[in-house]
C-alpha cells in the first residue's frame, strides 16, 4: 500500500532524512517512534505529499505520489500537528467544509454522528476559537473519520486525548485496519498507539534504527532498545 524507497530530505545544508525505505502492506499499522527532531514529522509530511523529498520515490496504493500528488491526496487522510480548524467556524461548520472539500457528502446527520463519537456534540455549534487544543485534535480526528481515506497518516494523535478519547481512537484504528485501511502513526511517548501497531520503527538520526513486528517486542524490550538507540534522550 505504501512503498517508499530511499527517501532523502534536506533543508539547505541540514539533512533530516537519509536513505529511508518503508513498505507498509494493506491493513497494517506502523508506529514511528523517535525523539524530537528525529524526522518523524518530516517523514509523515513527505508521505502525505505535503513535502517533496530531496530524493527517493514514493508510491501510495500504486500511485506515484511524486508525479501525481493530486491523485495520492484523494487516498490519504492526515492529522498533523495543526488540526486544520478554522477558528471562526463552529465544529459542525469545520467538518462540513473539509468534508465537502474532499468531495464527500456532508449531510448534517452524518456530521453530527461523527462529532458525537468524539464527544464533541455538546459544542457542535460553538466557535472553534473556544476549543482547547485537545478538542481541536478530536475535531481533526472526526474529520478524518468521515473521510474516505484508505491511508491514515497521524502525527502524535493520542496526545491531548483523555482515556476515553484514547480508547475511541484505538478502536477506530482497529476497525479501520480491519476494513483494509493502512496506518502510519508517529508517537513520541509510549502512551498510545503501540497496542494497535503491527510494526514498530524507531527513527533516529534520519534513518530507521529499528523496524520490527510489534509481536516480537515486549514492552520492556522495546523501552530498552529505544534507550539504547537514542542514548537515553527521550
Amino acid at each position: 500500500m505504501i512503498s517508499a524507497s530511499r527517501l532523502r530530505k534536506s533543508f539547505g545544508r541540514t539533512v533530516v532524512l537519509e536513505d529511508l525505505s518503508l513498505d507498509v502492506a494493506t491493513g497494517q499499522c506502523v508506529a514511528l517512534l523517535g525523539p524530537n527532531g528525529s524526522g518523524k514529522t518530516t517523514l509523515l509530511r513527505i508521505l502525505a505529499t505535503v513535502l517533496r523529498p530531496s530524493g527517493g520515490t514514493l508510491s501510495l496504493d500504486g500511485v506515484d505520489a511524486l508525479k501525481r500528488p493530486e491523485a495520492a491526496r484523494a487516498i490519504v487522510g492526515v492529522v498533523g500537528h495543526g488540526s486544520w480548524v478554522y477558528e471562526d467556524l463552529t465544529a459542525l461548520e469545520n467538518l462540513r467544509f473539509w468534508t465537502a472539500m474532499r468531495g464527500g457528502s456532508a449531510s448534517p446527520t452524518r456530521l453530527q454522528a461523527a462529532l458525537q463519537q468524539l464527544d464533541l456534540d455538546a459544542v457542535s455549534h460553538d466557535r472553534a476559537r473556544t476549543f482547547s487544543a485537545g478538542m481541536k485534535r478530536r475535531l481533526a480526528l472526526a474529520r478524518v473519520a468521515l473521510s474516505d481515506a484508505r491511508i491514515l497518516l497521524l502525527d502524535e494523535p493520542f496526545t491531548g486525548l483523555d482515556r476515553q478519547g484514547r480508547k475511541w481512537l484505538g478502536e477506530f484504528l482497529y476497525q479501520f485496519k480491519a476494513g483494509g485501511g493502512t496506518v502510519v502513526l508517529a508517537t513520541h511517548s509510549f502512551l498510545g498507539g503501540l497496542d494497535v501497531a503491527d510494526r514498530i520503527a524507531i527513527l533516529y538520526g534520519g534513518r530507521f534504527a529499528l523496524d520490527r513486528p510489534a509481536a516480537e517486542l515486549s514492552w520492556d524490550a522495546l523501552r530498552r532498545l529505544y534507550d539504547d538507540i537514542t542514548g537515553g534522550s527521550a
Binding site: 502525505a48 505529499t49 505535503v50 513535502l51 493530486e70 491523485a71 491526496r73 484523494a74 490519504v76 492526515v78 498533523g80 500537528h81 495543526g82 488540526s83 486544520w84 480548524v85 478554522y86 477558528e87 471562526d88 467556524l89 461548520e93 467544509f97 473539509w98 465537502a100 472539500m101 474532499r102 468531495g103 466557535r127 481541536k136
Partner: protein, 226 residues
C-alpha cells in the same frame, strides 16, 4: 454541481461566513474609507470644482488603498492550525480555491466600494444614480482585476514576515494600468459621456482581467504548495 464548482463554492461560503462572524475586514475597511473621505476633503481644500474634477481619481485611489488593506489579508485565516496544509491536501484542481477566494475578495471589495461611492456622492454632491449603469460596469471590471492579482499575490506573501511591505510593492505594477483605465472610464461615466467613447479603456480592463484570472488559475497550484 461539479466537484470543482462545489469546492469553489465552499471556499467562498467559508470566507463569507468567517467575514460575517468576525467582521474584521469589513469594519476595518469601512472606517478606513471614512477616514479617506475626510482626509481627501481636508487635503484638497474646500473648492468644490477642483474636488469634482479630481473625483474619479480620488475614488479609485480610495478603492486601491482599501483593496491593499483587504486583499493582503486574504489568506490570514489559513495561517492558524495548518489550514493552509489542509487546503493543499484537498484532492483535485487547486485553482478552485483561487476562484473561491477571488469571488470572496471581489464581494468584499464591492461592498466597500459601494459604501465609499455613496459617501462620496453624498459629501461631494455628485449625482450617481443617473450614471449608475456605466459606473457599475467600470467598477465591475476594475475591481475584478484588482481582486484577481491581489488574491494571487496575497497567497504568495501570506506566509512571509514582510507581507505588509512586499504585497503593495508586488501589486503596484498591476494597479497602474487598472488605475489609469478605471479613472478615465469613471470620468467618462460621471460626465455622462457615452461609454462608446471610453470603450478602449473598458476593453483594456476586460483584457487585463482575463489575463490576470487565467494566470491566477494556472499558477495557483504552484503557490499553495507550501
Amino acid at each position: 454541481m461539479t466537484d470543482y464548482a462545489r469546492r469553489t463554492w465552499f471556499v467562498l461560503w467559508k470566507d463569507l461566513l468567517t467575514e460575517r462572524r468576525s467582521k474584521e475586514n469589513l469594519n476595518a475597511l469601512f472606517f478606513f474609507s471614512l477616514l479617506l473621505l475626510f482626509l481627501f476633503q481636508f487635503a484638497l481644500g474646500p473648492d468644490r470644482r477642483s474636488l469634482e474634477a479630481a473625483l474619479p481619481g480620488l475614488l479609485w485611489l480610495g478603492f486601491i488603498l482599501a483593496g491593499l488593506l483587504g486583499l493582503g489579508r486574504s489568506f490570514i485565516a489559513e495561517r492558524d492550525n495548518d489550514c493552509w496544509e489542509g487546503l493543499l491536501l484537498t484532492p483535485g484542481d487547486k485553482s478552485a480555491i483561487y476562484l473561491g477566494k477571488l469571488v470572496g475578495n471581489f464581494i468584499l471589495m464591492a461592498v466597500v466600494e459601494l459604501v465609499l461611492l455613496v459617501l462620496f456622492g453624498f459629501f461631494f454632491g455628485v449625482a450617481l444614480w443617473p450614471v449608475a449603469a456605466p459606473l457599475a460596469l467600470v467598477l465591475l471590471l476594475g475591481t475584478t482585476g484588482l481582486a484577481a492579482v491581489g488574491t494571487l499575490f496575497a497567497a504568495i506573501t501570506a506566509q512571509l514576515r514582510a507581507r505588509e511591505l512586499l504585497f503593495p510593492v508586488l501589486l503596484l505594477p498591476a494597479q497602474v494600468p487598472i488605475l489609469l483605465a478605471a479613472v478615465s472610464a469613471t470620468d467618462a461615466a460621471l460626465n455622462g459621456t457615452p461609454l462608446a467613447e471610453a470603450a478602449h479603456w473598458l476593453k483594456l480592463l476586460a483584457g487585463a482581467d482575463l489575463v490576470y484570472i487565467v494566470i491566477g488559475l494556472l499558477t495557483f497550484e504552484f503557490i499553495i504548495e507550501g
